[in-house]
Symmetry: C2
Subunit: 319 residues, 2 copies
């Protein structure tokens, strides 16, 4: 069984722990196609937050208390950069994390693509999941605000999404192409899952890479999404500010309708909402998307594996 | 008074502490023209060991016990790089030191030259000395051995200079030019000092930059060198392996004759040897270089300042 998961960073990593848990002991091949819209150059170093968040989660070296980065992290290099007055003072590069960034930068400077660099970096740990960046190109999400256009990281990390977003641009996306292996993974998949990641700044930048949306729409595998919204609230992160900017209500059903059914030009065959949102199942199904309400809190890998089980079940239902 | 010092790293830094001490409280302007032959790219980061050694010494943040690098250093990032299998496993990048490398790399990637990057980096501390790299170009010292040509750092740090050197190449030097300010500093100097640094891999790479040797030969200021050899032994480092490779005896007089007198195509007007080498003063003077024997152990800045005093005295002597 070949499973493809479209994924953002921290929430995606948590979801992938459940996917790996569900398929543990089988010969399933799990591939995550990962958002690179948060990536950036900082003090000459290439940072890929979503790829790294997922890797750290799957490797079990993530900081579960803080919710991001490496466990046992320190910030000695960052303190030096601040003392020299370079970098973004509001963006902390952990020392352990920096080891990953430097390794990636080394490979990129050698002329390798991000996908190959990621392959070599992730080889350090037996992750059980193949991580593919959506593209080797530098497609970085920009946020349009009344104060100007800024990099997603500046809006998200520095301003905590408090400046109203007027829109999002996936700069460079039109001229980019999917990373090696992305289209092949989608075409060869038996199941495609949309992780409960931010629809606007995690999943949309993946779909913005020319060819990816079309590949998903044309895939033989069923496509099942998991709602990142539970009871009208974002499970984690600040997705509401993003959804509002693109005119989508922060609700499990609105996000499903935003993705749309494959039958009508969208990317979904089915959508999972949380049990508390059972009331919107009919609305979603009315839009041609099979829907089922199950517990969606990803408390631990075993609980998250049950979400995967439900996704497979709904995917197997007759249309 | 304008003082220019040609300098390598650790020993040069120690000498510069004495120069600064000597001129303390005066309006003297001290400029160090620093070797960049040890510089290199490592995991996408530009490392300039001599510039940094001098800066750390003058800033008082160097590790005096270990003899190099920053005090209170740690190696967390380096350990990560090793775990990922990149970089040179025998070359440790300290975390604090890496802050400097990243800052420099950031500026270089922005398109600044090394001299301007150095100006910005050194602005962090009131050093009392202006640090100028010999060149903005990437002129890296290569060591010719029977096992092939290798970067100076590999020969020096990895192999501890144990592989016999057959020669040295200052790769890129013929096509390089002095960094902005270098020729002006030499031309405008009232005193030029050659620090007791390694003649072959610290001073020679500076002189290999087209125009530098000529500027020193044509300078109106007296040029006084300080012997890095005391009693036939190198004060620090492994200079003997370097001198032997170029056919120069490891002695205070042989190094002086190797530099040569300005009157006969060399760069020296005068040369300081240690008191124990008083017996070679006549040989050196016979080569047209004024020589004087004084204590040359740089025990502390005050002691080193006495060397500077002796250099000024010998420079003032009638030819």
């Amino acid at each position: 069984m070949k499973v493809v998961v479209l994924s953002g960073g921290v929430g995606g990593g948590r979801f992938l722990l459940g996917v790996r848990e569900y398929f543990g002991g089988t010969d399933a091949e799990i591939t995550a196609i990962v958002n690179v819209g948060d990536d950036m150059w900082l003090t000459g170093v290439r940072i890929a937050p979503d790829l790294d968040s997922i890797m750290y989660s799957l490797a079990g070296v993530n900081d579960t208390e803080r919710g991001w980065g490496r466990a046992g992290e320190s910030e000695r290099v960052s303190a030096e950069l601040r003392a020299y007055g370079v970098g973004w003072p509001w963006f902390t590069l952990g020392d352990l994390d920096l080891g990953t960034h430097l390794t990636r930068t080394h490979y990129l400077r050698e002329g390798l693509g991000l996908a190959e660099a990621t392959r070599r970096i992730t080889a350090r740990w037996p992750l059980g999941v193949t991580l593919l960046p959506a593209t080797d190109a530098e497609v970085e999400t920009q946020v349009v605000t009344a104060e100007g256009i800024m990099h997603f990281q500046e809006w998200w990390t520095r301003h905590r999404a408090a400046i109203p977003a007027l829109g999002f641009e996936y700069r460079g996306a039109p001229d980019s192409q999917p990373a090696p292996g992305v289209l092949e993974a989608i075409a060869g998949a038996d199941l495609i899952l949309i992780a409960p990641s931010n629809p606007v700044v995690s999943i949309a930048p993946i779909l913005a890479i020319p060819g990816v949306r079309e590949a998903i729409r044309g895939a033989s595998a069923p496509v099942v999404g998991i709602s990142p919204i539970i009871a009208g609230a974002v499970v984690r992160g600040m997705a509401e500010a993003c959804l509002t900017a693109i005119g989508v209500e922060t609700s499990a059903s609105a996000v499903a309708l935003h993705y749309g059914s494959r039958a009508s030009g969208g990317i979904l065959d089915a959508w999972l909402v949380d049990s508390v949102d059972a009331g919107v199942v009919d609305v979603i199904e009315g839009a041609g998307i099979r829907a089922v309400a199950v517990p969606l809190w990803m408390t631990d890998p075993a609980t998250t594996a049950e979400i995967v089980r439900a996704a497979i079940a709904v995917a197997a239902e007759p249309v």
